[in-house]
């Protein structure tokens, strides 16, 4: 069963690559534009550190590690789960969701596999460069175990992003314009670009227990640079798992409410 889905995903993946190659120019411009946007963010941190040496005890590379980890998680979500953003306008409003319901495979799988978002690739590479550079500058000797952990954290982070988007995107089954709800909740991730301890306590609590983007950056980073929050590092995968269980329940409930469109 799982095997079949993996095989199918590869098939979808191949088709998506074909589409991507057909729109090559768009691919380059899209990747460049989002790359540029992220670069201006990291540039901001750089300029700040031209004026101070530490930010509440965090050095430049401490912060770029947090930043880089979040970018990696975020771009995984961007590349592989981007279709969730258009569930409302492109699938439900136009009735194209019908097609997904006619296949002998999970409609959610079908929805997600249907699109590969090229724009995220540039960000992924930039995130990778920033993370590796930060780890290097921080003189951290990771070893195999460390690398495996980073991969686990990034994948969990991507899963956290995807699950949160899935929950908000499912609102498309009821409301006409879900985009703004998805966007509003999603935008909270910007807090997680920086160490949580610079904010008011309430913000930390929200990012840990309500919209837990901090598990995609801050807590995993703490595993490598010990700033006193290590005890929560390891639960990133558990948070991701719990969120997906919730998201799938919400999704199932949403599908039951699907009313298609007149035709």
């Amino acid at each position: 069963m799982l095997f079949k889905y993996i095989r199918l995903y590869i098939e979808f993946f191949k088709q998506n690559i074909k589409i991507m190659l057909e729109y090559r120019a768009d691919f380059i411009i899209g990747a460049m534009a989002s790359l540029f946007m992220q670069m201006s963010g990291i540039f901001f941190v750089w300029v700040i550190f031209k004026n101070v040496t530490t930010l509440q005890g965090w050095t430049f590379y401490d912060i770029t590690l947090v930043y880089g980890l979040l970018m990696l998680s975020k771009s995984l979500n961007h590349i592989f789960f981007d279709n969730l953003w258009v569930l409302g306008p492109q699938y439900i409003r136009q009735g194209n969701f019908d097609t997904l319901l006619l296949r002998p495979i999970s409609p959610l799988f079908h929805l997600i596999a249907n699109r590969l978002q090229q724009d995220g690739i540039g960000n992924f590479l930039l995130g990778l460069v920033i993370t590796v550079k930060s780890l290097y500058e921080l003189n951290l000797n990771l070893g195999i175990k460390g690398v495996a952990l980073i991969i686990l954290f990034v994948v969990s982070g991507g899963a956290i992003f995807a699950a949160i988007n899935l929950i908000t995107a499912t609102s498309s089954f009821w409301v006409v314009n879900s985009y703004h709800l998805i966007w509003t909740v999603y935008s909270v991730n910007e807090f997680a670009l920086y160490p949580l301890n610079i904010y008011h306590k309430a913000i930390g609590i929200i990012l840990t227990w309500v919209i837990p983007y901090a598990f995609a950056s801050f807590y995993p980073a703490n595993y490598f640079i010990h700033k006193g929050y290590e005890q929560l590092s390891f639960i990133s995968p558990i948070v991701a798992l719990v969120l997906w269980v919730i998201a799938l329940r919400v999704w199932r409930f949403g599908i039951k409410n699907y009313t298609s469109t007149g035709s």
Partner: protein, 347 residues
């Protein structure tokens, strides 16, 4: 056992009554007001394996809603659908693997890719053995004349070309049942013909069960032996297509554009009452309904032409809508429609 069993199937849509203006929009969020609209009202039928059934009715009668419940896209409000022993919306994977579907207004193919890529993906999704897939593909390519089309990205295909490819996509995995919701909408005669022949062919040779909705009577006449007529969410007729054709479908209406009519015409028409019904007349326009099994159009013309200068004429076949209307009228009268039909000739 029948392959499709429908018992007291009922669907009502909840429609959010939108209020006007900004305040209304805010009010909507807190006090949404719903009205419900019954689309399918306790219908019953069963379909045997290998049948080709036409499912017809006026716009908004509830055809698409029924099809969507049969395919499992929609959950019924109440009642039961069993397709090959499965409840479609519950046993989605099991049910979907034995069905194919075409919805006239939308595509199941990847917009940016050529149809052949969609077919290949379908092969993977449904686990179609390679040999069987290749066989189907070459048969369908020939029957539907797809050779050139399947390599062009879908977005560059014309409506008719797209529909031919779409039809192939619905059959390529050898489904037991295929649902076709208005597959000929907006197509020209040639393409319609190709598609009808294809469906007929596959239905016969492979005994695929076909359920077809359309507004074109000819689609049904050529493909289906049985027809179910639905109106206002209720089944008003379920039986052989011949019976419908013989009783209601045998009428034609002629419109004459006329000049200089003599006064005798009224008397003449009166004497022909047995053959000509529902005559309506104005100085420049005469409309006559006749039974084509009893009298031909040219005979009708011969009756009228001595008394008028006929400038132009058109002959109308009955539309599905008018047949349904006639049927419905009889239902309200609470009479068996065949009997009623005999009486109909008298006025």
């Amino acid at each position: 056992m029948a392959i499709i069993e429908v018992n007291d199937l009922y669907k009502e849509y909840k429609i959010n009554q939108k209020k006007e203006g900004v305040l209304g929009a805010i009010g909507n969020i807190f006090y949404p007001r719903y009205i419900s609209k019954v689309a399918v009202n306790k219908i019953n039928f069963s379909i045997e394996e290998g049948e080709a059934v036409g499912y017809i009715g006026a716009n908004g009668a509830g055809k698409s809603t029924t099809i969507k419940m049969l395919t499992g896209i929609l959950t019924p409000t109440s009642g039961r659908v069993l397709v090959n022993g499965n409840i479609p919306y519950k046993h989605r994977v099991k049910n979907n693997s034995i069905i194919g579907a075409v919805f006239g207004q939308r595509t199941q193919m990847w917009w940016d890719l050529p149809p052949i890529e969609t077919y290949k993906l379908i092969q993977k999704i449904y686990d179609v053995p390679k040999k069987q897939f290749d066989e189907n593909l070459s048969t369908f390519t020939e029957l539907l004349d797809l050779k050139e089309l399947i390599k062009i990205p879908v977005r560059q295909l014309s409506l008719g070309q797209k529909m031919r490819c779409e039809i192939a996509a619905a059959f390529i995995h050898d489904p037991k049942i295929v649902y076709l919701d208005e597959p000929t909408i907006g197509l020209d005669i040639m393409v319609k013909d190709k598609i009808r022949n294809f469906i007929k062919n596959i239905n016969k040779k492979r005994s695929v069960t076909v359920i077809l909705t359309t507004h074109d009577l000819q689609d049904i006449e050529e493909v289906c032996k049985r027809v179910i007529i639905i109106d206002n969410g209720q089944v008003v007729y379920d039986g052989k297509i011949e019976e419908i054709k013989n009783s209601l479908g045998k009428y034609r209406t002629v419109h004459f554009q006329v000049k200089n009519c003599s006064n005798n015409l009224d008397n003449v028409l009166d004497t022909q009452k047995e053959y000509l019904f529902e005559v309506s007349k104005s100085p420049y326009d005469i409309q006559v309904k006749f039974d084509r099994q009893k009298i031909t159009a040219s005979e009708v013309m011969n009756i009228i032409s001595p008394y008028c200068d006929i400038m132009d004429l058109t002959i109308q076949e009955p539309s599905i809508e008018s047949i349904v209307r006639d049927l419905y009228r009889k239902q309200v009268d609470n009479n068996d429609f065949i009997k009623e039909n005999a009486g109909n000739c008298k006025y």
